[in-house]
């Protein structure tokens, strides 16, 4: 049997939430670079501000300070998708992009990937749901691009096996 941890020892295992200033300084350039690869400059600046305002509003409810890069890139990724929807020309001839049950691809994928181990799940969702490249994913997970690629592909393999059974 594993020895039980005392509360103080458990608290030391949890990464504390840094003051928002440190979080912002640590991630602002990565978020802005991520947005600039996906949006025109002006839109990237607007979405940058909205990303960190949303992060600020939800910051109180974080349980710990882990994976904050992945968390803020997820917020940014969602806003990029929303921005794309808003700026797409609204004509009746053009149908919405087909998604299986009316949900966008990333939502579908998050649901599908729910059962995966955390790292694989994050890698799969960031790669295929948000179209991040492996450098970004590595940054988000605090690992190497190669490790991120392996996590995504083993996640996909696991999903395929699940589909077959």
């Amino acid at each position: 049997m594993r020895p039980r941890l005392r509360l103080t020892e458990m608290m030391e295992l949890v990464t504390p939430i840094p003051p928002f200033e440190r979080f912002y300084l640590d991630h602002r350039d990565a978020v802005f670079a991520f947005l600039c690869r996906r949006l025109p400059r002006e839109a990237a600046e607007d979405v940058f501000q909205e990303t960190f305002l949303r992060a600020l509003r939800s910051y109180q409810s974080l349980a710990h300070g882990e994976h904050l890069r992945a968390w803020v890139l997820t917020i940014a990724g969602r806003l990029v998708i929303d921005d794309g929807r808003r700026s797409r020309p609204q004509t009746h001839e053009l149908p919405e992009i087909p998604v299986l049950d009316g949900r966008p691809a990333y939502a579908e994928l998050e649901h599908l990937a729910e059962a995966l181990p955390p790292t694989e799940r994050a890698a799969v969702v960031l790669r295929y749901g948000y179209d991040l490249d492996y450098d970004d994913i590595a940054g988000a997970l605090g690992s190497s691009p190669e490790a991120a690629r392996q996590a995504a592909s083993s996640g996909v393999r696991r999903l395929r096996r699940k589909e077959l059974t």
Binding site: I17, P18, P19, F20, E21, R22, Y24, R28, D29, F32, A33, C36, E45, F48, Q49, F52, L53, L56, R57, Y59, Q60
Partner: protein
Amino acid sequence: MTVSAALDSRFRDAAATSGALDVGYDVVESPVGPLLVAASDSGVCRISFHADPDEHLEALARAYGPRVLRARSAVDDVRRQLDEYFEGRRQGFELDLDTRAVQPFAQRVLAELALIPFGETTTYGALAAKVDAPRAARAVGTVMNRNPIPIVLPCHRVVGANGSLTGYGGGLHVKERLLRLEGVLL
């Protein structure tokens, strides 16, 4: 790709007006050196002669919540009133103060301290008597030493029984300078 200074301050201003910050702070230049100034929704909560924000972020987050961000506009009012004070155009501050992190005894002492007018001094013992603890001059000294909002809460106006300046968090030369500004020392 790095964030431009313009985009950076645009976000910081938007954050300050969003109402979602626990504490906004900035470094304010003054004749007695740079000051760290921090304010919550309820008012000014910290002024420090140690102006490096790195020394304060964790303590501010512990006391007021983790949403602590440098934002110039969050302390506009304090900056303006401090400027006026140092230029000799202001004798009292009209600012809300947030002293929720202060212990009850210190709260009472700071409330009395706030009443000492511009240009006047008192002693540690006299201040102790005001809070019905006449023998607590030393404890009052400790409260002055830990005053979270110096200048606005005028601990520089409290001196030793023999008139000596005794001590000051910002250094005795700052205490002397503030008292000269107020016309106490000539």
